[in-house]
Amino acid sequence: MKPRIGIITYGDDPHGFLIKKKIEEQHGAWCCLIPCDELALRGKLTWSTQSGEPALLPTVDGQTVDVKTLDALWYRRMSPKQILPDGADATYHQHINATVERVVEGILVNEFQGRWVSHPVATRLAENKLVQLRAAARAGLRIPATLVSQDPAGIRSFCSQHPGAIIKPVATPRGVELARTAEVSQELLDSDDVLALTPAIYQECIPGERHLRISVVGERCDAALIEAKDLDWRFDLNVPFRPYPLDASFEQGLHRTLRELRLVMGIFDVKLTDEDEPVFLEVNSQGQFLFIEGLCGIPLADQFAAFLVDQAVQPVSPRPSVDMW
């Protein structure tokens, strides 16, 4: 019987479409896309306490899939915002968003019996930068000295101890204004009201111009070296990208970090010091990776499709209970 794989993501996510195509064409497996932002629009969400009832979710091709029949599920995105059907009163948009999100989460956690990539609870927790920094440290990786605070005196003290300290957001919700990583200015340090409004991440600046974007999927680690002067290289990709071999002990640290976070994949951002020491900056539990393939040719999409198929044919691990977290 063909392995059956589900991908839950936005209805127009190119990552999802490409991986589905590769799963079908290269492995002959069955794959469906569940459009997480079109669930209110497409309808058909149903769950029941009665045993034997299918647990149906809509798919992008207009069908439904019983999640009980899936062997693996790539939990790539869950939308906080639903596209509303014509005629829906936008006053109730937040109600609809929250309701759909809870129902889908409940259906998946209750009824999906296969292997998660990765579990929703682990995914959500791992998005917390405070949690992931501590996990990386426990895993033996070097992390930058970090303060997360809205206390002006504490922030000034930290920045005086770490000249050139940087500031970056604790969280960046999708669809809102972006703020890039930047050096903390004196003007900011002089603005008590601004510092006190909300916490931010203040961090030791790791000097150097060599960044690593590392895709860790199952047992594989694939790193790209990015040579960029900018602290935040994401906004100008016209810089050298090339594959970069990793030290085996560092790879083990990356795997340990994922295990700490109960993730089966993660996209790491790391900076290399001038002495070649890798310093963990953050891990994205469902980070973007296709652009790395486009920029330096590492066949990440092929590898990821093969990984999902492999997950689908593996024995199912014990279901995590809520108290695991």
Binding site: F17, E38, L41, V184, F291
Partner: protein, 77 residues
Amino acid sequence: MKLIPAVFFQKKVNGVEAAAKSPERLELFESELREVVGGALRAAGAAGAVVRAEGGCGCPTTYSGSQGWLDLASADD
């Protein structure tokens, strides 16, 4: 002026930086991706399953709140 979070205050201090053009090889890769998505959506459309507005290429006109096809700068990605 209303108070704004420190990360956006720092962004204002640093001033607006012009968006860099995407590298040519990435543009090419993206166009191939668009073909994959567009083809899939056209197939779904033929089956009557597409539920959102499309641009001329058969691709969706929005990206579900993301910043672009590769979504790199969006959210915590």
